[in-house]
Amino acid sequence: MSGTIKPRDAAELQKAVEWALSEGTTLDVRGTGSKISLGRPMRCDQVLDLSGLTGVVDYAPEELVVTVRAGTPLRDVEALLAQRNQMLAFEPPDLGPLLGREAGEGTLVGTLSGNFAGPRRLSAGAARDHLLGFSGVNGRGEAFKSGGKVMKNVTGYDLSKVIAGSWGTLAVLGEVSVKTLPAPDQTRTLMLRGLDDAAAVKAMCAAMGSPHDLSGAAHVGDRTALRLEGVAPSVEARLKGLRELLAGAGAAMEELGTLESRAFWREVRDVAPLKASADAIVWRISCPPTEGAAMVARIKAQRPTAQCFYDWSGGLIWLALPPSPCRPGGRSRRDRDDRRPRHPDPRSRGGACGRAGLPSAIACPGGARRAGEGKLRPQGSLQSGEDGMISSRRPDRSRAKRGVAEGPVIISTTREVPRLRFAPLGTTGN
């Protein structure tokens, strides 16, 4: 890495990319770098540091939209919105502590670039659903825009969707316009105790399918938490309805008030319940809610030390896999070569995730990150190899091949979505 370019305004940002293009220089696009440990390490010629492009360009609470520059810290945006009793409804998580950093470092644009959303994803949508429009610079060094600042807009392709979650690989964002919503007056939580995973998912799905309008459903340890938000009389009535609905679930029930609820859901949002050891890999698995419990059971059967909790009514599993201890002696050559990326046989049976689960590695210890270096393996999914290890499934070629990634829209930067293999981290002992 030979240096850092830090533009001070949109014109300099455009010039920087234009320069990189003319020099054939690759750019590592960063805000504050809070998620730098996420994904495979990059080898880029230059850092393009957006932390100098800060500030709120425009905030119109009655229009429900805020426009900010790329380097604006998320906490500044949230503080501004809170003054007008509004919020970013997708509940952006602060993954700092999970990734071994301080809390509160990230930017709103960084959150959008990873399409990260918290527990309210269930009812309010993902980060991508809240990005109304953006301006930025493409890989040809051209300044362009897409979308707008209004709620309803179908003019041209919805590039906001593909930009959210693209990790800066399609364009460098300069400014984003994001939807804001009124913050709820009250937040209460109905907590069920003592349900096992399968029963908890069942209870969460029943609650989500009820008219009680939940804004969160998580299962952590033996606690199953159901969140209700809104004006006081409504929350009261829904809590009562929810208690009646779940009376037959056979669980003890308690309620959390607004302050306790906020603290609890902040922890779920930031993946705090996963007290993972520093050498564990933390995975995020997205699946249909009803399939989560069985998937976790399969993973735990292979890896008893795995820890996990559920969010999104069971549709999001946070999983920590500590490395297995080395088996003393008698290791085959193949075992010793565990760190070597291997293409598993797609025909192998007994997948841990099966076809239903889509895993992403979020937090990885240094060794595992290095092991994952190499060529991009798009769209892996977790499943067990023939040797009982969990490994990355063969890429879905049609999707990768046809993606915009291979169109001419690519920007020169290379922050790749993490594609770590599971296999290097040990065996199950059989």
Partner: protein, 495 residues
Amino acid sequence: MQMPALDPDILARRGEIVAALKGIVPGEGVIDDLDGMRPFECDALSAYRQMPLVVVLPNTVEQVSAILRYCQDHKVKVVPRGAGTSLSGGSMPVGDAILLGLSKFNRVLEIDYANRCAVVQPGVTNLGVTKAVEHEGFYYAPDPSSQIACSIGGNVAENSGGVHCLKYGLTTNNLLGIQMVLMNGEVVRLGGKHLDSEGYDLMGLMTGSEGLLGVVTEVTVRLLRKPSTARAVLLGFPSESGAAECVAAVIAAGIIPGGMEMMDKDAVQCAENYVGAGYPLDAEALLIVELDGPEVEVDHLTKRVEEIARERGATTCRVSRDEQERVLFWAGRKAAFPAVGQITPDYMCLDGSVPRGRLVEVLSEMRQMSKTHRLRVVNVFHAGDGNLHPLILFDANDPDELRRAEEFGADILRLCVRVGGVLTGEHGVGIEKRDLMGVQFTEIDLDQQMRVKCAFDPDHLLNPGKVFPQLRRCAELDRVVVHHNKLPFPDIPRF
């Protein structure tokens, strides 16, 4: 409206193309006689029509794939069509293109209440999805006014909205997965029953791509539980500004109603005449605010909305007493377009979106334009999300009126963009707003979008003549002009 010139070579090969299609879709699936094709000559933007080269109605994904592969190999253009209810000409046929109708894909494949989703074929109507699940208390949220006829596949292509978007989002916010066929015949699955996963959100890109990137053959939609109570409030105001202020104040009070619609005096009169919904005829502007949720919440919010409205000078304030009356309140609004048809031979329906704060200004400027163009305009719109539907009244038999209506429409859309809005909030660009794209976007913005098109359909065979004011060859867009700089911009801070 200029459509691309027809390719004489394709027209000359019509017999051969029809024969090939008959080989792929047996039986009655290929319609090549003039009488049979007549019903397909236009969509809901009926001012413009053209007969297709041939109509093909496949009923399996394999047939769709084979048709597209054939068309790719033989460079034949294709216009995909759902129910043909596009208001922007998105599914208008093209004379040298096959019209690929998905109407035979009309089955609900799976309903999964536990995961709150349904897998349906693209020809199922929007309302058909709700009908299939409402006995269990569920529904599909986006509700365009054409919902009894419009298809889910078309909704995906146009990213359709409706009156409940403010609270529940557009089509894009209510999809979980799609299966689509690419122009080369490849069948691709995006998303599924899960929420987010990594990789580019190509489903989001496909949604609202107006049939230019692929043909949707299966859709997984999110189902919502029907709120236990819904109530509509009718609010009459002596001025449009009073109504607009009320809209802003409701949102500022932290209330996101299920729907918040506004109608001007003319629209109210037409609708009242047509449906007899009990609208106040003395009001200059009418708001319909729908509140939904548990009964206590609806009671609470109804009171708040009434207070706010009275503070802003509302002269009428009526809350629906039962479900029948709520439906009646909406009936006038939902029938507003046909109602306007009573007082004019033709009307042109526009679809600009503006920041809510500029509503009054936009309305008054529109009135001025109405005088200049000597045509009446009636306004019905989704006030909650600033999505306007001005209806320009004209007589299509008078060529000068049609021309003036087109010019008036273009002026209104330019005005929307000028105040910080956009050309289309939910109807799509199609052919209708195609030539105005340059008002909202720079050439670079449009090139960027066209590169997306090139990545999916490099020969520009899918839905030609739509969305882009002019097509450029993909190879031309590929070229990167590199200026070799002498100085690496020494003024930008470096470390």
